[in-house]
Amino acid sequence: MVVDQGAVRAPRNLVPFVTFLQAAPLAAVLIVFLLLPMFALVVVSFFDYNSVQIIPAFEFTNYTDVLGSAVTWRTYLNTLRFTVIVWVVTAVLGFTIAYVLAFEIRSRTAQLVLFLVCTVPFLTSNIIRMISWIPFLGREGLLNSTLLKLGLIHQPLEFLLFSDFAVVLAYTHLYVLFMITPIFNTMMRIDRRLLEAALDGGAGWWRTVVEVILPLSKSGLAIGSIFVVTMVMGDFITVRLMSGGQSASVGLMIANQIASLQYPAACANAVVLLAVVLTMIAAILRIVDIRKEL
């Protein structure tokens, strides 16, 4: 083939073409598996539907239904509330754990081993990890029965399971590693001489952490935040299982609509969710230039 052979000693005007060719496989994958489905999503979101089928049309009913309903707004607020709480908790935990791993543990081997220990729970399915909380937190669960036996409480603590607390707990457990890993990674790249310089300059431990380590870990925090925010915003199963179906999330709303064969409504909802999440990611990237700091 002309092009294949031409790759090495291509005339100058063929070079851009060869570059395109090199990018083609990835582009093809993205077009087929990302752009086309998204396109379909957007198209269907304008369709009409009844209880048995979807009817090709171009109407804004699905969007007016979604945006005009108080339920949607409440559900978005609830999802955002979970996202903010989980983001704060995982960021603080993730930063602390990564800090200990990166700066307090001196031996490389110990660092590696402890990091692997953090990943151990992630060898199991996340559904299993989530479900295992249920017998632990239940009214007659391990925690309640232990506390009762120790005489610390006299009534089982009901808020432990099927509550917002349970949801946040499960999210934290599920997603904290997605914070730890990128933060740990950026921390390991921090030039240790900067810490010595801070020390020499008279900065205490707290100032070093806040003014040297934290700013230099920003890109890790940003990457972790993107993971956590997108996963919590799109989640439906954790909310359903841990709140016992009592709480709603946008993902759950979409899942319910799909289950009732209301695909166009689900698509419109998904498009709105996509827009919201993309805005949030854009905001994160606006604050932290992750490429510059990688």
Partner: protein, 425 residues
């Protein structure tokens, strides 16, 4: 050979030896090829977990020679797959209220009643619309109202019995509330007991909109707050009132959780998180099999019933279509019926099931008599000790007191929207 010469043989010999079946005229004369062909046939069946039993697939292989592949999904997913992936299955094991949505889309073909040998023996609920000639008609999507279409290409339901059936009934049952008699502390007689403040934080209702709303309606009627023209087909104001009631009840902290799958309901009950909830019969059995007291409480207002059946995908033809008819005839012939009855469901043709059950089993499950010996599950586990009586009594007492059937409403779209409000509230 004539196409319907198979009536001379037993079903098994037809498929394994003679190699001829009704309707397979085109390949007559090549019996051995046919006999081998049928072994290569694989029918893909999907449905809810309740009747997708591996034991059935194994028995089919043994009796009929072909392979039955089963996929179990939840109620909503079944409807979804039936409509959106019609080529992915051959046999749909689907509920009657779902078929009301599915059949009009044209993904399935009606079955010729003439090819169903025991069609006249099917319980009259399905073929005549009534259990006995003088039963009161129940509300909701009755199996009879969606059981027939006018012709081989029909997509809309016929007003009465015709020769073309949408589904052949497999299992059905009468649902009510499950309770933990050891924890509940008082007799339960009405649907309204679900929302008794005494059980605050210890009640649950299922989060399957089309069924959950019916349970809620039973509660509303029991409380006397609302009388529905048809609980299975509510008007918008009726839906509004029902959902407003559910939201108030939820906000007062009555519900501990909402469940969506069978296992969830079992776990809620077994763990003591919930002591009264909407429940399915085998879930009650599953709780009891853990040695935990659980009662399927009959209630004054009657039962909410449901029924499932086997339907054929539109694309089935030729050899596979024959195998599908053969399978359905086998399904009604007794072995499966006995198996399902022993799980606490009811089967379509009771007479043939009876032949496959011991008199004691028949007495316990169908006639509501005290068990003479221990009652075993199909897997041989003890389900009930000698002396036990089935909750709710006999087949006629239970199926004769159906207040409404699982339904799809005309205002389905609106109802689901409102239901989501309840869940989000």
């Amino acid at each position: 050979m004539a196409p319907n010469s198979s009536t001379r043989f037993g079903r098994r010999s037809v498929l394994t030896a003679a190699g001829v079946a009704a309707g397979s005229g085109a390949i007559t004369g090549f019996p051995t090829i046919w006999a081998q062909n049928i072994k290569n046939v694989t029918l893909r069946q999907f449905g809810t977990g309740v009747s997708n039993l591996n034991a059935v697939a194994e028995k089919v292989k043994q009796d009929l020679g072909f392979t039955l592949e089963m996929t179990a999904l939840d109620t909503d997913a079944v409807t979804q797959k039936a409509v959106t992936q019609p080529k992915s299955y051959d046999i749909a094991d689907i509920e009657y209220f779902a078929i009301k949505k599915v059949f009009p889309t044209g993904v399935m073909q009606p079955m010729d009643a003439k090819k169903i040998k025991l069609v006249d023996k099917i319980v009259p609920i399905f073929t005549k619309g009534k259990l006995t000639p003088d039963s009161k008609p129940a509300q909701g999507t009755t199996p009879y109202s969606v059981g027939f279409v006018d012709g081989p290409n029909g997509k809309t339901f016929a007003a009465g019995q015709t020769g073309w059936m949408t589904l052949i009934p497999t299992i059905y049952n009468a649902d009510t509330l499950g309770i933990r008699p050891d924890l509940i502390g008082r007799p339960i007689n009405n649907w309204k007991d679900l929302v008794d403040p005494a059980f605050k934080g210890k009640a649950s209702i299922m989060n399957i909109p089309s069924i959950g709303i019916m349970d809620a309606a039973m509660v509303m009627e029991s409380l006397g707050t609302l009388k529905y023209a048809d609980k299975g087909n509510m008007t918008k104001p009726e839906i509004d009132k029902t959902i407003a009631f559910l939201i108030d009840t939820k906000k007062s902290g009555q519900f501990r959780a909402f469940w969506k799958s069978f296992d969830e309901s079992v776990n809620l009950m077994a763990s003591g998180e919930v002591i009264i909830q909407s429940m399915w019969s085998p879930a009650v059995a599953a709780v009891r099999s853990k040695g935990i007291a659980c009662k399927y409480q009959p209630l004054a207002e009657g039962y909410r019933a449901w029924a499932g059946g086997l339907g054929m995908a539109k694309h089935l033809s030729g050899l596979e279509l024959d195998a599908a008819y053969e399978y359905i005839n086998w399904y009604l012939s007794g072995w499966v019926g006995a198996y399902l009855n022993r799980q606490g469901y009811y089967s379509a043709v009771l007479e043939t099931a009876k032949e496959n059950m011991s008199p004691d089993e028949w007495g316990y499950w169908i006639e509501g008599k005290p068990a003479q010996n221990d009652i075993l599950s199909p897997e041989g586990k003890v389900m009930e000790k000698a002396g036990a009586v089935r909750d709710g009594g006999s087949f006629y007492e239970r199926m004769g007191r159906v207040a409404c059937w699982n339904s799809v409403m005309t205002e389905d779209r609106y109802m689901v929207q409102k239901w989501n409000e309840f869940i989000a509230a």
